[in-house]
Every structure is written in C-alpha cells, then in structure tokens.
C-alpha cells in the first residue's frame, strides 16, 4: 500500500508498487493529462513535478514517489493560468498537443529554477521532450514569452 499525494490530494494505491508512477497516475487515479510516450525516459511526455522537480514518471517506481508532493498538469494551476500555460495559448503552440502536458511541466520546472533563462538554457532544458509534430519553434517562443511576462 502506498499513499500518493497528487495535486494536494492523498490517494491510496494497493497494487504492485514496482510499476512506474505514470501508470498509477493514469490508470488508477484517472489523471490522464500525464502522457505515455516511450517508457524509457527518452521523450518527456510523462513529465510531472516531484517535490517541485521535473521527473519522468515512466522511470520512477510508485514506491519511490510515496509521500512526496506530486504535481501533474491538472494541478499546475487551478484555472490553467500558469504563465507557461498562458504563453502556450498565446503562441498557439500545439498541433496535436499530445506531448504538450509534458512540455509545459518541463518548462514550468525550468522557470521555477531559472526565472530568466537564456535561449541556450531553454534549448538545453527542453531537449529531453520530443514533439513529433514539430512544434519546437513555438515551444521555444512560448517558454521565452512565459519568462518575460505573458
């Protein structure tokens, strides 16, 4: 039994605790904003915040996440008005949008740690997040915009 603290709420999980956090968030808690992309920490689609740090939830066993503060895209901002989310809308960044929850969580963690990132900081921080539609131009623009005030 593990108690997961997700977006400020406690959830009890009574299943196998070796499975990746990703699948418990999605399949057991029903929080499907966090996406599966690769299962190997290669694409960033499953990015969530663990005690404020961006982590790949496909690479973390549920047992490691117990008791820590987990924030998913659903909990980033109650109204969806985090500066990164607003910047994303301002630039119409998504195409299919599937990887963008992970992109937004990665960008939000970057700005929390580095409020005024350089272009190079942005590319380095976002290089682990794949977008197959190829929205990178607007993702870079959105992160810049979020850091300078939307």
């Amino acid at each position: 039994m593990v108690t997961l603290k997700v977006n400020g709420q406690d959830h009890a999980y009574d299943g196998d605790t070796t499975v990746p956090l990703l699948w418990v968030i999605r399949d057991e808690l029903g929080l499907t904003g966090t996406k599966f992309g690769c299962g190997k920490g290669l694409c960033g689609s499953c990015t969530v915040h663990l005690d404020g740090v961006a982590v790949r939830s496909c690479q973390m066993a549920v047992s490691e996440a117990g008791g820590k503060a987990i924030v998913t895209i659903e909990g980033l901002d109650p109204d969806g008005n985090h500066p990164v989310q607003r910047a994303w809308r301002e630039t119409s960044a998504p195409q299919c949008g599937y990887c963008h929850a992970g992109q937004i969580m990665q960008a939000a963690a970057l700005l929390a740690a580095t409020p005024k990132p350089s272009d190079s900081d942005i590319l380095t921080a976002m290089a682990g997040n794949i977008c197959r539609c190829g929205c990178y131009q607007r993702i870079a623009e959105a992160v810049r915009l979020a850091s300078t005030g939307v």
Binding site: G15, D16, T18, V19, P20, L22, W23, V24, R26, D27, E28, G30, L31, T32, G33, T34, K35, F36, G37, C38, G39, K40, L42, C43, S45, T72, I73, E74, L76, G80, Q85, W88, R89, S92, P94, Q95, C96, G97, Y98, C99, H100, A101, I104, L123, T124, M126, A127, G128, N129, I130, C131, R132, C133, G134, C135, Y136, Q137, R138, I139, A140
Partner: protein, 775 residues
C-alpha cells in the same frame, strides 16, 4: 488513402440512435436542429469539381446533419474529420460558422462518430479534408443562414429579401427588428433544406473567420490543462488494461505460449490469445498473446514473463544490408517502363555529359507521440451484440466496417467514437489496434484498453517504404538537359493488401515519379521489381519523400556538374509556364492525380516557378554567406499543392549541422486557416529534419533493429530549425483548395542536402545524414 485499392461499400442501414445520442449529448431543448437528413443535390453550384464524390460516403452538405442550434443560441457544429494536429477539427466548423453568420464565441464543436452514410467520407488522410470539404461546408453554412432568414421573415410576415442574417441574429432591414438565432432555432429547424441552386455564398470580402487565421484551435485550452481527451485517455467504467506480445517477424505466427509466470505477476488478471490474420491482410491484427491487468504497468510486467514460441515464417531472413544491395542491382539494369517521352536511351548515348547518381531512403517509423491505442467494449444489448469503441483513428468509417466484420454483427451495432489523435501521420489510418481491443473485449466480456508500448509501435509499424532511386541525366554541348532516366525501386504499399504485389502502384508512381514536371524532351521513368518483407504503409507524404529527394538532389548535381547556380538550373528545368499532363506521355498508366480531376488540378509549372522564386527571394538567394554556410533549394508538387523550400545551413569544423533559417513558399489555392498552414509547414521542417538527419529503420533476421527513440532518432528542439518562415501564396475562391498536411515534407530533405553541398561540397545521397558530415 485508405481507399486506394478497394471501395469499401457502406452497408445500408439507418442512423444509429446511439450515434445520435453521442453527438447530441449536452444539447438541451426541443429546438435542437438535428431532425434527420435531407441531402442537397450535390453537383449544383459547384465552383470546382473534386474527387470527393468517389470517396466512400461522398460529401454531405446538409445543415440538418451538421448544425444544431439550442434555444439559448448555442450553436453546435459537427466535424466529421479526425484531429491529429492539422487543425481541421476547428477549420471545417469555422467555415460553416462563417457562412451561417454565427458568432464563433457561441459555437461549440462536436465530433462525429464513424458513420459515412450520415456524415460523408471521414477518412482523414491524403491531405483531403479542406480540399474536399471547403465547398460542402460553405454550402452547409449558407443553407443554415437561409433557413434562419426564412424563419425570421415568416415570423415577421415580411419578404425574405427584406431580412439579413448577421452575427448570430436576423435583422429586418426596414424596421431594424432583430431575432437571435436561439429564438429562431425551432422554426428554422422545421424548414426543409433549401435547394442548392438557391443558396447564395458570402462574398469572400465579408468573411469573419475564413482566411484570417484569427481563431485558435478549439482544443487549445484543454490541451494546456491536460483535459483534452486522446484515445489513450478514454475511459469506460470497469475497463481493464492490455498489452500484447506480437509475432516479431511479419508473416510469423504463434506456436505456443506458457502464461504460468505471467499470471503470477501482481495485478495480472488474464492471458488471452489474440486471433491472427495471415499476412498480407490489410489492417487485420497480426495475433499474439495479450496480458490483461488492473493497469498498464502491471500488464507490461506480466508480458515480460510470458514464454512464447513463434514461427517466424518466410520473412525471417529480411536483412536491410542485403536488401539494399539487391535494390541497387535492380536499379542498375533496365526496369519496367512507366513513362517514356522521346528517346531517353538514345539521348543519353549522344549526350555530351551524363550525370548519374543513386539515392537511398530507408524505412521510417511513424512514431506518433501517442502510440496506437483504443478502448473498446463489446457487450450484449437489446439489439444483440453491441460494440462501442473510443479510438484515435483517421478512418472511423473503415474501422467501423471492419469491427462489424470481425465481430460478425451488423454495422449499425458498432459505434466508433473519435477521440483526439496524438499524432497520426498515416499510422492511424490503419485500425488494427482497435480490432485487437474489440477481440479482447469480446473474449473477456469487459471493456478493454489496449496500449502499444513504444517498442510495440516501432517494431510492428506499417513502415514507410525503403527505396533506391537512380537518375541518369544527359546534358548536350550547350549545357541543356536533353535526357532524364529515373529508376525507382521500392516495396509497394499494395503488398500490405495483396500477396505478391512487387511493383509500385499507380498512386505511388504518381507521387513525384511519372508526374515529373521538367521540360526535358527525352524523359523516361522506370520501376524495378521489388518484394516487400515487412508491412509497408503510407507515411506523411508517402512516395513523394524518396522521389522528391532524388529528383531535387539531382538538380543540384547537374548544376554542380555544369558549374551553374542551382536555382537557375531548377527554373530552366521547370521551363516555360505550361500544363504538364502525364496522361499524354507514353506508357503512363492510370495517373491518379491524388484522386482528383486533372481539369481542376492540372500540373502547372507556372505555380512551381512562382513558389521557387518566392522562396529564393525571401531567403535572400545569392546573399554573401560565411565559410561553412550554404543555401539549398527544392520544389515539389504533391497533394495538388506547390511547395518550395530554401534551407540555410551552417556546418562547423566538427561536422555539426545547424539550420539557422528555413524559408518555405506554399501555394495551396484558396485557404481557410493560414495560421494552421504555417504551423503545418513549421512542423514539416522538423519532421523533414528528422527523416533527413536521424530516421532509419533497418531489419536483421526479419526484425526491426530499432525499438524506441534511442535507436529511431527524431529531431529535438536543440537541433531543430527554429526560424522557419512560411510564405503563403494568396489565392481567391477561384483557385481550388489543395492539400496542406503533407506537401510541406517532400522538399525539405533535398533542400537541406543541397544546402549542405553548397556549404561543404559534400553530397548526401543516402539518408539519414547521421554522421556523414563528421570529418
């Protein structure tokens, strides 16, 4: 493109009530306008003819099908096409809203379930949605506007000529009286659809939304908050989670399995064999063993513990190194002639100079970020066995038909709800993963969500073909190209449908081979025999990728051989403005023109020239560049659209490739949503870089050697072109709309490789570039 080989007949049967409820959920009040179809005579007032009528289901332009108005004034517009990132789920309803004078802030969009009899063709593929639907959707909106005006005129007892619909209300011109759309909903809903020839389309100068690029996609807010529902997110109460072990080699089959250890894994509930269809079987499941669990993580753990014995079958020796050699040998000799203008063989013999080059493009995987996945519930209902699916599918109509066949139930008992697609690129035109979920739901009597892991996706894809393209170009003493012989060797998509198919199909030959627009008197195209040993499928822009890579690279090679400017040589090869009609060339069989009439969409070299000139001018062609920098150009017509790209590259002393800028000019005729056209072209530059620099799937012992993003590389933000400038050629309503989703891709790789040649003198003939630029 699902329907290139067979027209799948739509069985008779009425509109399923369950579908109606799904679509209309949330609409309150008796004034809702959906009251049953009364189809307009389609050919009337057509501005241009398209191939839409030949697609299964054709087109429907009746507001009784597509529009509902609530008494509160809320307008619901149904979209019949799948959203995979092009913006079509927004663009088509926006056309209706504009024509009917609806206020977009009071419009919501609903997604049609798979029902092509009711909604017309739903196959979201082939870059067809806007070109086939812009006119029916304009007519649909205009009819709705006329009905609202008629209802208001009747209410006021005035002539309909004295009223005008404007921004969600109807105004009496004489008195200034107004009635809102909500107040008119009930009366307007009772009216028959007006005849098509009575409709008056809006003057394009009065468009509020079409052509403005001012409307964000309808799912934008939900995407940024995690609320948008993709296939992998769909939920049915009580559902279980499944992953499947599939035969590792195409054509292989299950011999036996032992589930003892798998069933001991915590959370695993069932292990079930999945029915297999022998290869080739179109999109039927390949079979295997499914592990069903309380969550996907447990199912994956259980699958790891399965002991399975496979018979790998006849493709177990497929080896990409050996296969390439074989294709190169085929291309070195005369092949089947598929176009033959003049006497290319003779002209090559008499040419002052012959330039020869051979190009290679490997298999590619689609690798949409959302892998194949579906949720399906098969259950006993009042009308017998029912099937309800939630699926990220590009083809809900074809999917529905095959679900009915596989489950042996009437198609009316099948509902395919279309979720958002986390990317498609052609993969999700194939519905094998939906059928798998249905088979498992039937076997377990529970709703089942099947998820393909990334390994499943990349190891069991319907891959982009692999190709060798050889071109011999003859130049006379004056430097004029007088001969061109292009041999194409590649396994055909047809092999996925039909055993023994070993030549490219007409639709593949017509993607940049036999439709070559060059002004060369002796022009011969040949196609070499080539067997498929894996599943070949269409990948965004399909055969245009290898054909355009070869043709447009060859232009650069000729320019280099002659010591001339590549853009000048390209424009010279395009020749004077004229129409090129491949149907008039000897030996061209069944030229398809993307399924649309040639008269509407001829091959116009003037439009190729124009986009070439725009891209070159905007990129500053000829400007001074630093050492190690270069510009490269390529132009290509595909999906009836003309696209030219200039890539600006910089290659440093370590051979690291940078792309400071890309300029692309696109002429896609009348356009609806220029903002989404820009995003498609921006994305095409990234996907173009992915396939040019990183992408390859290779086979050894019949199995793909890459299985995730560590082996199958795609572009990331730190190597992607971030300054992509898109130049859209303006066009009025009299220039037919053409494709957007795919045509941005083909010119990118040759433009990039031409730029690399300009920067370094190194000619890339084999993709991916990988480390070929390293010293």
């Amino acid at each position: 493109m699902t329907h290139m080989f067979e027209t799948i007949a739509i069985p008779p049967g009425g509109v399923a009530n369950v579908s109606r409820r799904f679509v209309m959920r949330g609409i309150v009040g008796s004034g809702a306008l959906v009251i049953g179809a009364s189809v307009l005579p389609r050919p009337a007032m057509s501005a241009w003819s398209t191939g839409a009528g030949k697609m299964p289901g054709g087109t429907i332009n009746d507001p009784h099908v597509y529009v509902a108005i609530d008494p509160s004034g809320l307008v619901t517009i149904i979209t019949n096409r799948s959203e995979m990132g092009t913006g079509v789920r927004t663009s088509l309803p926006m056309i209706v809203a504009d024509e009917m004078e609806a206020d977009w802030s009071r419009v919501r969009v609903a997604q049609a379930p798979g029902d092509e009899k009711k909604y017309g063709n739903q196959d979201t593929d082939g870059s067809r949605s806007v070109r086939h639907w812009v006119e029916p959707m304009r007519q649909c909106g205009a009819a709705m506007r006329a009905m609202l005006e008629q209802a208001a005129a009747t209410r006021w007892g005035v002539a309909v000529a004295d009223v005008r619909a404007e921004n969600h209300k109807v105004i009496h011109l004489g008195s200034g009286n107004m009635l809102g759309y909500g107040e008119l909903a009930k009366a307007a809903s009772a009216l028959p659809t007006p005849p098509a020839d009575s409709l008056k389309l809006k003057d394009p100068r009065t468009f509020r939304y079409i052509g403005t690029g001012s409307i964000p996609i309808v799912d934008l807010h939900d995407i940024t908050t995690g609320k948008a529902t993709y296939g992998i997110d769909a939920k049915i109460p009580g559902m279980k989670f499944a992953v499947i072990a599939r035969p590792p080699v195409v054509g292989g089959k299950l011999v036996s399995f032992d589930a003892t250890e798998a069933l001991k894994v915590p959370g695993v509930e069932r292990v079930v064999e999945v029915r297999a269809w022998p290869w080739p079987s179109k999109f039927m499941p390949v079979g295997g063993v499914a592990v069903i669990a309380r969550n996907t993580g447990c199912a994956i753990n259980g699958r790891d513990k399965l002991k399975v014995v496979w018979d790998n079958g006849p493709n177990a020796s497929y080896d990409s190194v050996a296969f390439r050699r074989q294709m190169e040998q085929t291309a070195a000799n005369a092949c089947k002639v598929v176009r033959n203008d003049g006497d290319a063989e003779g002209a090559l013999k008499s040419a002052a100079k012959v330039v020869t080059a051979q190009y290679y493009v490997p298999h590619l995987a689609h690798a949409s970020m959302e892998p194949p996945t579906a949720v399906v519930h098969v259950f006993q209902g009042k009308a017998g066995t029912q099937c309800v699916a939630y699926a990220p599918t590009q083809s809900p109509g074809g999917c529905r038909d095959d679900l009915a066949k596989v489950l042996d139930i009437p198609v009316e008992n099948v509902t395919v709800n279309v979720t958002l697609l986390g990317g498609g690129f052609g993969r999700k035109s194939k519905w094998d993963y939906v059928l798998e979920a249905a088979l498992l739901s039937k076997a377990t009597a529970a709703p089942i969500k099947v998820v393909w892991t990334r390994e499943d996706d990349i190891l069991h894809d319907f891959y982009h073909t692999v190709s060798v393209e050889r071109i011999d170009a003859g130049v006379d003493a004056n430097g004029k190209v007088i001969a061109w012989r292009h041999r194409s060797v590649a396994p055909t998509i047809k092999s996925t449908f039909q055993a023994g198919a070993d030549y490219e199909a007409p639709f593949e030959l017509g993607m940049g081979l036999v439709d070559n627009p060059f002004n060369i008197p002796n022009l011969r195209c040949e196609n070499g025999r080539c067997e498929a040993h894996t599943r070949i499928g269409w990948f965004r822009s399909v055969s245009n990728i290898p054909h355009a890579f070869a043709v447009q690279s060859m232009v650069g090679e000729i320019a280099a051989a002659l010591g001339r400017d590549p853009k000048d040589v390209l424009l010279e090869l395009l020749g004077p403005d004229r129409i090129v009609d491949p149907r008039k060339s000897p030996d061209v069989a069944d030229y398809w023109n993307y399924g649309d009439p040639f008269e509407t969409y001829p091959i116009e070299t003037g439009r190729l020239r124009r986009v070439t000139e725009i891209a070159a001018e905007q990129a500053g062609w000829g400007k001074p560049l630093q050492k190690g920098e270069g510009l490269g150009i390529a132009v290509h017509r595909s999906f009836l659209t003309y696209v030219a790209t200039v890539a600006h590259v910089a290659v440093d002393d370590n051979g690291t490739l940078h792309i400071p800028r890309v300029d692309t000019a696109i002429d896609c005729g009348f356009h609806v949503n220029p903002e989404r056209i820009r995003s498609q072209i921006e994305g095409a530059a990234v996907m173009g870089l992915s396939l040019a620099k990183h992408g390859k799937i290779t086979f050894k012992d019949g199995r793909a050697e890459q299985s995730n993003f560590d082996g199958f590389g795609v572009a990331r933000i730190d190597d992607a072109p971030l300054d992509v400038r898109v130049h859209i050629v303006p066009a009025d309503w009299d220039v037919p709309s053409s494709g957007v989703g795919e045509p941005g891709l083909p010119p990118f790789a040759p433009a990039l490789c031409n730029a690399i040649f300009a920067a370094t003198g190194k000619r890339i003939r084999s993709l991916p570039i990988a480390d070929q630029l390293k010293a």
